[in-house]
């Protein structure tokens, strides 16, 4: 399997009044086509990890390589190009642009990447169909439900056929039923070969939908479990791990 994402001895320390450790000597490889969940409580470093993979932040030490591209030496403009060409990002609070229609929101990354208008429109409409919101193309985000907005966000993230799809707490702002629907969509997208890295604090969700769950605590990898039937690991095992760590 090709390695899509490679973190090697990555540390991130935030300078401030007292130095805060975001990540501490983390090494991680995520192969192409895998649906990996990064799990941990608040402050564990999971968002830091996602930001480093997205090139939104730079590590204090170590290297981050995504789809063969080492992010360390890239300028801001190069990182922007990297994000628009190789990444798709889904945020917890959707972050759609309210003054653009659904279709225009989805087209935005394609236009930034220079995709031809006709091609981009066809791709966007195709995604809207796949995600079951084709009739919402002309609507504005304020008129959509939370689930519909997140679908739009997923479509926007996929329009450029990214190497990696990053999802930061994609169900955090949704009710449980809607959240499950969104995760079902991500699983379906993953079945098509899309590499997905999802950040979540919810162990149950992580185990139920991801093929691999990386648990972080205090900036370090606590556990790295493949969620395959043959591994013997289960949701209840992950829940136990969580309870034990919470009690410490």
């Amino acid at each position: 399997m090709n390695t899509r994402i490679e973190l090697t001895n990555v540390s991130k320390i935030y300078n401030g009044g007292s130095k805060q450790v975001g990540l501490s000597d983390v090494s991680l490889s995520i192969p192409s086509g895998q649906f990996a969940a990064i799990m941990g409580p608040s402050g564990s470093g999971k968002s830091t990890l996602l930001n480093l993979i997205a090139g939104l932040d730079r590590p204090t030490s170590g290297t981050v390589t995504v789809d063969g591209v080492s992010l360390g030496g890239l300028s801001e403009a190069a990182l922007a190009r990297y994000r628009r060409q190789r990444l798709g990002v889904v945020f917890q609070f959707f972050h759609l642009l309210n003054q653009l229609s659904v279709l225009d929101n989805i087209l935005l990354p394609a236009q930034l990447a220079g995709m031809k208008t006709a091609t981009a429109r066809a791709r966007a409409r195709d995604l809207l169909d796949q995600l079951g919101i084709a009739e919402k193309a002309g609507e504005y985000p304020a008129r959509l439900s939370g689930g519909e907005r997140q679908r739009v966000a997923i479509a926007r993230a996929l329009v450029n056929r990214p190497a990696v799809l990053l999802a930061d707490e994609p169900t955090g702002a949704l009710d449980s039923r809607t959240g499950e629907q969104v995760l079902d969509l991500l699983v379906e997208v993953n079945r098509g070969g899309q590499t997905i890295v999802m950040v979540t604090h919810d162990a149950k969700l992580a185990a139920a939908y991801a093929a691999r769950v990386v648990s972080l605590r205090d900036g370090r990898i606590l556990d790295d479990a493949q969620m395959q039937p043959s591994s013997g690991r289960s949701v209840s095992d992950l829940m136990q791990l969580e309870i034990k760590e919470a009690g410490k």
């Binding site: 801001e76 403009a77 922007a80 994000r83 628009r84 060409q85 945020f91 972050h95 003054q99 504005y140």
Partner: protein
């Protein structure tokens, strides 16, 4: 109160960039506004003050000594409306030599400087009491580099008597020598006869004060009563104090018009910016407003928090700007005050600076209160729940249009955001519009000044000016001039006065010989005269005499009626439009032996003015005053240009500040959107482009609309200003003022330039802001 102050100061610290912007633009506005009001107050006050102190003459009358005697003139002193009179003083207009320079002075024989009318102030030396002594006005002495002890030679007589300057005075009945070329000079009464040449005659000058003299109509009636008490054609010339005051204040009036206009523009732009700031602050602070209301702030106190944030930097700006305005007014007023021996510092009023400050604070309060009322009326729960004001949720037609034009997406997104907050966008566009209109207006003014200075008579001078004195023959001088190879054209003229039916007093008449049509006079109706029997008139004369182009008139010159036909109306700068010019051949009917006094010489291209003047002067040094055209810009025009430039720059700074403020508010409001776009792959450069394009839309809109407004302002303000000095510009003057399309395009682009300058810093800041920090803060 303490809680309110704490909140206000805390908010000011948080919005210190905007507070500094407001401080700067208010400082500029307060400075310009105070300057304008000080000049307004000071421009006529000193004249009125000195006029009352010195018992100035409401009316000065020169009587023809060949028609009337001093005994006959005594009858005028007992007319019902006369409250005081002085004279008759014998005198004449006589030529003098001051070294190689020659000058004309109206010499009067006056026994003492005091009296019931026109009390002269001696500022140097003493009064002339003996033969051989002469007293001059201070402004003339300074302009001619004379002082007590200097000598002047009377060249009207062959024996050329010499007079010694024994004193200098200030005379409220005369304007400064730079504005009124024929000045009085005083000698002992017994001296007058000894100065007259063979062709000179004695005139008598009397000065009058009346019960009713507030208006030109009052003075016209008084003049008619004087004429009625004397033989026909006794009155040779009159001058009212209203005209003298007009001359005295003309410079100040012109500058004042511009200052007040600019101050109004600046204040307008400032309040638009402040309204914008407060609107933006309210929209961005919903949650905070809800919280402070929940804590116990009343709606009025909430409003005061926003108004207070504007008043503090405004007050600071006024404290700095108003005194600067007061200090700046002193040199502008000083030139006029000096002529009246009044120190300028006593005529500026610090109280006016206080009134200006209060006025600005009131206006700012009003414009800050209206948008702040929204904050006061917010329901606390709704405000806390919403957190921020509802964002724009409608499609931007502009963005869609620009997208169709295949503009890069960041630019079309940014441009579409220009009116995402319609009121904010509109206020900003208006601020830019005002600035572009002001720049357009300033450009028009500069061209207009250049045009005015090209009009013969006041600022414009011919290549060489010659004044002929005494009995030196005109024919000899003309031969000398024609013999010079550089001579291209000679126009001669003299000053006289004409009595025309319907006029309250004689009008200035200038018969001309030569191709005067080519001199560059601005003809607004009809054409320049081209032969005997034809005349052109200034607008004030034509209106007063109820004439129109084509009418016939009888102008009595030297007691001889001349039959003339009015063929044109022209713009006269010397006599405020009360002027009549006609062909020399017509003048000879009234004065068969008269010879011209003044010669305007136009030289061929490339000629050396100085060398020519020296050569001609050397041909008859005792009888000719030959002056080449001075180099450089007239001082008043240079001053006006400098003031216009500074004021235009002030407005430009205000416009840039307005755009800066709007872009800052927009980027702060769109922080999350911008972070999202960066996360999606928008590069820092594209973020800058997006933000700046939004500003450029506003700048372009303001620029395009500002041009026609500026053109209209130029015409309107010049009309008002020149009407205020009694000499409105004709419509023909404005033709071609804005014909240069390249310049107009540049002015329109000035709006975009203001947008680029104002938007650059906030755009760069937005591009650099960390995405992680923004998206983490939910």
């Amino acid at each position: 109160m303490k809680a309110l102050l704490t909140k206000i100061l805390g908010d000011l610290r948080r919005r210190r960039v905007q507070a500094i912007v407001i401080f700067i633009i208010v400082t500029l506005t307060a400075g310009v506004g105070t300057l304008g009001i000080e000049v307004l107050n000071g421009s006529s006050a000193p004249f009125d003050q000195a006029f009352n102190q010195q018992a100035g003459a409401h009316l000065q009358v020169a009587f023809d000594g060949r028609v009337v005697t001093p005994d006959q003139l005594a009858a005028t002193t007992t007319l019902p409306d006369v409250t005081a009179s002085a004279g008759p003083w014998p005198g004449s207009i006589l030529p003098f030599a001051n070294g190689t320079a020659k000058v004309l002075l109206r010499v009067l024989g006056r026994a003492d400087p005091g009296g019931p009318v026109d009390r002269l102030q001696i500022v140097a030396g003493h009064w002339a009491t003996q033969s051989g002594e002469i007293v001059l006005t201070r402004s003339f002495a300074e302009a001619s580099q004379l002082s007590v002890g200097s000598q002047l030679t009377a060249i009207s007589r062959l024996d050329k008597p010499t007079l010694t300057v024994v004193g200098e005075v200030t005379d409220i009945d005369e304007a400064d020598a730079s504005l009124q070329s024929l000045q009085y000079a005083w000698v002992a009464p017994s001296q007058v006869a000894g100065l007259l040449g063979p062709s000179d005659h004695v005139d008598y000058v009397m000065l009058f004060r009346f019960r009713q003299a507030a208006t030109a109509a009052d003075l016209q009636q008084d003049t008619q009563e004087i004429e009625g008490a004397l033989p026909p054609h006794a009155v040779a010339n009159t001058l009212t104090y209203l005209v003298v005051k007009q001359i005295f204040t003309v410079n100040s009036t012109i500058i004042l018009g511009f200052l007040l206009a600019f101050a109004a523009f600046a204040l307008g732009a400032v309040v638009l910016i402040i309204a914008n700031v407060v609107t933006g602050a309210v929209l961005a602070s919903y949650r905070e407003i809800g919280i402070i209301k929940a804590l116990g702030f009343t709606p009025g106190q909430v409003v005061l928090t926003f108004v207070g944030q504007m008043l503090i930097p405004t007050l600071a700006g006024c404290i700095i700007g108003a005194p600067i305005g007061v200090l700046g007014s002193i040199p502008i007023l000083n030139s006029s005050y000096q002529a009246l021996n009044l120190p300028a510092t006593t005529l500026v009023s610090p109280l006016l600076a206080l009134f200006t400050t209060i006025g600005i604070l009131v206006v700012v309060s009003l414009f800050a209160t209206f948008p702040a009322l929204r904050a006061g009326l917010l329901k606390p729960v709704a405000a806390i729940t919403k957190g921020t004001a509802p964002g724009p949720q409608r499609r931007s037609l502009l963005s869609a249009l620009l997208q169709r034009l295949h503009l890069p997406r960041p630019l079309s997104v940014g441009a579409g955001d220009a009116f995402a907050r319609p009121l904010r966008g509109l206020l900003t566009a208006l601020a830019v519009l005002i600035a572009v209109a002001t720049l357009t207006f300033a450009f028009g003014l500069q061209s207009s000044f250049q045009k005015v200075t090209a009009i013969p008579g006041f600022f414009a001078r011919p290549d060489v000016s010659i004044t002929r004195y005494g009995a030196y023959p005109d024919s000899t001088l003309m031969q000398t001039l024609q013999a010079q190879p550089e001579t291209a054209r000679v126009v001669t003229y003299t000053f006289d006065s004409a009595i025309v039916s319907g006029l309250s007093s004689p009008v200035s008449a200038e018969p001309m010989r030569g191709s005067s049509a080519a001199d560059g006079y601005l003809v607004s109706q009809g054409r320049w005269f081209s032969g005997p029997g034809e005349a052109v008139g200034g607008l004030a004369f034509v209106q007063e005499a109820h004439l129109k182009v084509g009418d016939r008139l009888i102008a009595t010159v030297n007691n001889h009626p001349l039959q003339l036909r009015l063929v044109g109306i022209y713009y006269d700068v010397v006599n405020f439009g009360r002027d009549l010019r006609f062909d020399w051949s017509s003048y000879l009917e009234a004065n068969p032996t008269v010879q011209p006094t003044f010669y305007s010489i136009t030289l061929r291209p490339g000629a050396d003015f100085q060398a020519y003047a020296q050569r001609v002067s050397a041909s008859a040094p005792d009888f000719l005053s030959v002056q080449p055209r001075p180099a450089g810009t007239p001082p008043f025009v240079a001053l006006a240009n400098a003031i216009i430039l500074v004021l235009a720059l002030v407005l430009a700074v205000i416009a840039v500040a307005g755009v800066f403020n709007t872009v800052l508010l927009n980027t702060r409001e769109r922080t999350q959107d911008i972070a999202t776009l960066k996360a999606l792959g928008m590069s820092p450069g594209q973020v800058v482009g997006m933000v700046v394009s939004s500003a450029c839309v506003l700048g372009l809109l303001g620029g395009i609309l500002g041009i026609p407004l500026g053109i209209w302002l130029h015409r309107t303000l010049l009309d008002l200003t020149t009407s205020a000095i009694g000499d409105p510009l004709p419509a023909a003057f404005y033709q071609g003022a804005f014909d240069n399309l390249a310049i107009l395009a540049l002015l329109a682009l000035g709006g975009i330039l203001a947008a680029l300058l104002g938007g650059a810093l906030p755009a760069r800041s937005a591009a650099r802001r960390s995405v992680v920090e923004v998206l983490r803060a939910e």
